[in-house]
């Protein structure tokens, strides 16, 4: 059972790391601020979700499980809010057609 959980952790955390990598590649390759924001908000949201999901079976107490999920939700909320604010600021700099 513990082996299955360990394998689950390795797979989920690796998948999370892959999405962080993809988000970073997008940050470098995408042409402007707004498209780069897409790369960061979406890929990192999924990447962090997968890392947290992978770490859940390794938590020693139920308290740690709630804490991990709370951290993910907090990062999600912060990312969604700050992403919008930065998009607004970027649009003001370069008015819409």
């Amino acid at each position: 059972m513990s082996l299955v959980l360990d394998i689950f952790t390795i797979v989920a955390v690796s998948a999370g790391a892959f999405f962080f990598l993809a988000g970073t590649v997008g940050l470098l390759r995408f042409p402007d601020t707004l498209t780069r924001l897409h790369a960061l908000t979406k890929a990192d949201n999924l990447g962090l979700g997968l890392v947290v999901m992978g770490l859940l079976p390794q938590a020693e107490q139920p308290f740690a499980v709630i804490k991990l999920i709370a951290i993910w939700l907090f990062a999600l909320l912060a990312g969604a809010t700050v992403g919008q604010l930065m998009a607004r600021a970027a649009r003001r700099e370069r008015p819409t057609p």
């Binding site: 993809a22 988000g23 498209t35 979406k42 998009a87 057609p97």
Partner: protein
């Protein structure tokens, strides 16, 4: 009215303190900092989001949460595919979405929810109060997806879902 806001303040304060204890741990020596943080958070929350009489519908909220999860996965996978593709398939541009929700917390929630949708990023409002979305690919059926999300959110917040 006064008793309602006192009750709302107590409930929110207890929630914030609980969240703080969850993150920091129940150490008596740290509790003063936690109480100060919870008080500051409660004050801010009551100012920014005064207690209303809206009632949440949990079934619609659960459907919304499920859809949010699916969209997060699709949104992340979509952007990863585009970023790693050799051709870099992007057709960026703006679309205007005439939002039905009133401006304020409900509309902001909608913006935050839809920022995980595949290929869309809320980028403010235009002169007529419609939401502006920046899209990675303007040929995707973005407005249809946004309308489904908005309908679910309106129902979760206790409103009636009149059209679509």
């Amino acid at each position: 009215m006064r008793t309602i806001s006192v009750r709302a303040a107590m409930a929110r304060g207890a929630g914030f303190l609980g969240f703080w204890l969850l993150l920091i741990g129940p150490n008596p020596a740290d509790l003063v900092a936690g109480l100060c943080a919870a008080a500051a958070a409660t004050w801010t929350s009551l100012r920014l989001l005064p207690p209303g009489d809206g009632r949440l519908r949990y079934a619609a909220l659960a459907r919304l949460a499920l859809r949010f999860g699916q969209e997060s996965i699709m949104g992340g996978a979509d952007v990863a595919r585009r970023a790693l593709s050799v051709r870099l398939p992007l057709r960026p541009g703006f679309i205007v979405y005439p939002v039905r929700l009133p401006p304020g917390p409900a509309c902001n929630t909608f913006g935050a929810l839809t920022s995980v949708l595949p290929g869309t990023l809320p980028a403010g409002v235009d002169d007529h109060g419609a939401l502006l979305y920046h899209c990675l690919d303007v040929e995707q059926p973005v407005a249809v997806q946004l309308a489904i999300d908005e309908g679910l959110l309106i129902r979760a917040l206790g409103g009636t879902h009149d059209d679509t």
